[in-house]
């Protein structure tokens, strides 16, 4: 059934152009508020927690991209330019609300206190990595921080977030789920399925689209013909807001309000954060092939970190000395963490077959036994796999 509407007696087409979606913005680039804007009630501690997480993310990304370039890491992917979107939204949540992210949201983990060692162990895929060295770098996960392990196939987490939030609604503990995704991923069928189900079942979920201009090389003009992602909410009768994604105060405030709708009224909300991916798509990509340096430079002028820092300075909560100290401290800690992670051994050979099921099936145990025998026979050929196997055994087997 549709709602009762008046009828017309000549064909009348609509394009949706009659809806103009404004962009919610509070903070100017110089760190002052727009006329008539009011800053959300953030304490100094809260504001600094946010800024520190954003700064951490920026420095981590710089250091790790450099490590990738040096050949120490196989792959890296930066959040650079989108820190306000990711950290601002996370800060508006309860720390035990669920986060189901795409892959560019390390800032959320940083905000929740994921440690440098935890980051590094995943990036280097060592024995201490929660994911046991099975996934590419940046595929973090943390049960303790309510951050679902990243899956590379795009958009799959979006309907999952709806199911997760439905469970939260049944448990009635006042928690919700946020799912992050790019405007490219929003083209997948999973996105549309998710919005529809969330709306039909009135689920406490926040859909946060990082509209950062590109999906790898594909610009938004070749991704969709509409006015961004936001109007899609109308088709599902869902609350929607568009926000300046480089404006930390606006992202925070919008998500706070969205969370209230979700948790107190079981209203799903779509947030479209307008931002820009300042870095390459990943360490495998070179944006020179598809966008201009002028365009990048224009967006660098809108750096969300610089904007927040100026606001903090206006509050008298942060100054150049703080900035320098923080930056130096972070560089040192990250470098030390990287060295620690590189020294850890790889995951043991048996980790290849665990977690496929709750228990290793007999046929798979046989495959592992055969592999172990093979590695024992040729330990030099499999330096990583041979690490966990005892030297005596390896020598004996190798001498056969």
């Amino acid at each position: 059934m549709t709602r009762d509407t008046s009828s017309v007696h000549a064909p009348q087409f609509m394009t949706g152009d009659e809806w103009q979606i404004p962009t919610f913005a509070l903070l100017r680039q110089d760190g002052t508020l727009h006329t008539g804007a009011e800053a959300p009630a953030l304490t100094q501690d809260q504001a600094l927690r946010i800024y520190r997480a954003m700064r951490f993310t920026r420095v981590l990304d710089e250091r790790m991209l450099a490590a990738q370039r040096q050949g120490r890491l196989s792959f890296y992917l930066q959040c650079t330019g989108e820190e306000a979107t990711v950290v601002g939204a996370t800060a508006a949540l309860r720390d035990d609300d669920m986060i189901m992210a795409q892959y560019r949201e390390q800032g959320a983990l940083a905000y929740r206190g994921f440690s440098i060692d935890e980051f590094m162990n995943q990036l280097f895929g060592n024995a201490l990595d929660y994911g046991k060295g099975r996934q590419m770098p940046i595929h973090y996960g943390s049960a303790e921080r309510y951050y679902m392990t990243i899956s590379s196939p795009l958009a799959t987490q979006i309907p999952q977030a709806v199911g997760y939030a439905y469970g939260q609604k049944l448990d009635a503990e006042g928690r919700c789920t946020i799912t992050f995704f790019g405007e490219g991923a929003a083209s997948e069928g999973d996105f549309h399925a998710a919005l529809n189900m969330a709306s039909v079942h009135q689920v406490p979920v926040i859909f946060l689209c990082r509209n950062n201009g590109y999906a790898i090389s594909t610009p938004v003009a070749e991704q969709f013909a509409a006015d961004g992602i936001a109007p899609r909410a109308f088709g599902y009768r869902m609350h929607v807001i568009r926000v300046d994604g480089n404006d930390i105060l606006a992202v925070y405030q919008a998500t706070l309000a969205a969370r209230r709708l979700a948790v107190e009224h079981n209203k799903p909300v779509l947030i479209e954060a307008m931002t820009y991916r300042l870095a390459a798509h990943s360490s495998s990509d070179d944006p020179a092939g598809y966008r201009s340096q002028q365009e990048e430079a224009a967006w660098r002028e809108k750096d969300p970190l610089a904007r927040m820092r100026l606001w903090l300075e206006h509050q008298g909560w942060w100054d150049d000395d703080d900035e320098r100290r923080r930056e130096e401290q972070l560089r040192g800690e990250i470098l030390a963490g990287m060295k620690r992670a590189e020294r850890e051994p790889p995951p043991p050979l048996a980790s290849l077959v665990s977690d496929v099921y709750d228990q290793v099936p007999p046929a798979l145990a046989e495959q592992l036994a055969a592999l172990e025998a093979h590695v024992r026979r040729y330990p030099d050929h499999y330096p990583r796999g041979a690490v966990g196997l005892s030297d005596g055994d390896a020598a004996k087997a190798g001498g056969q």
Binding site: G133, M136, S187, G189
Partner: protein, 325 residues
Amino acid sequence: MAHMNMLQAINQALDVAMDSDPRVICFGEDVGGFGGVFRATSHLQEKYGKARCFNTPLVEQGIVGFANGLAAQGHKAVAEIQFADYIYPAFDQIVNESAKFRYRSGSLFDVGGLTIRTPYGGGISGGHYHSQSPEAYFAHTPGLKVVVPRNPHQAKGLLLASIRDPNPVLFFEPKRLYRASSGEVPEGDYQLPLGEAEVVKEGGDLTLVAWGAQMPIIEEAAEMAEREGISCEVIDLRSILPWDRDCIAESVFKTGRLVISHEAPLTGGFAAEIAAAIQQRCFLYLESPIARVTGLDTPFPLTLEKEYLPDALKVLEAIRASVNF
């Protein structure tokens, strides 16, 4: 002849196909102006215009659904799926639609003009989702053809044949070999037959079968075995569906031993089909059990990728075991 790598050969095949037939259309994620994340479609948009080579929105089921419609309408749709690991959102369009279009309509309609190109396979530190070899899922689907080239020469000839074949073809490109494999490639237009395996090296003691990225591995194993006095016949299956039983059976009649290797997990892998068919055909000629050297029955790992992969040493062990059975 010109010397080039596999990506260049694929790019040339697409160029030749588009040049020789204005109804050939290439599209997919990032394939337009950028030329694809691996640059397989480089310069095609420049040369043939945006109507014939373009970016699609990021939606695999849409890409293949669109391709099915375009092919049904009479165009030659060449769709790229950026990684074989991301073909699953299009599984329904491929398995229920592409494969059954002709059959369900009694040949009133068909999508024979469809070719899906997609990079597959491991060995590039890609973890779960940039490493998979999903050929067996599709080999279980009558109505599809499944093709995998091993080098630039094969890639160009097989891709041109796939695009022109009057059936929907899945063309799996071994991405580990994209730049690693180079060689002489004939200039201009030529095709290599679908459904036919190729004996790459003759031998008398044992038959080795693989396809795509696994070919250099079994060739290396064959050389190692040679040094131990074991003569292997090396066969590139080239087409997984339909596959060339006669070629493999002929070889096994001669050698009496068969080792098959693929990167995909053991259980339900395509080697199982080959083993079953060949033991039926060649039962009385077999000197030892048919062996499979494959990935483990697990998702694809990262740090221990080298341990996981069915490398030449593992194939060599299987050769020895077969000979010493």
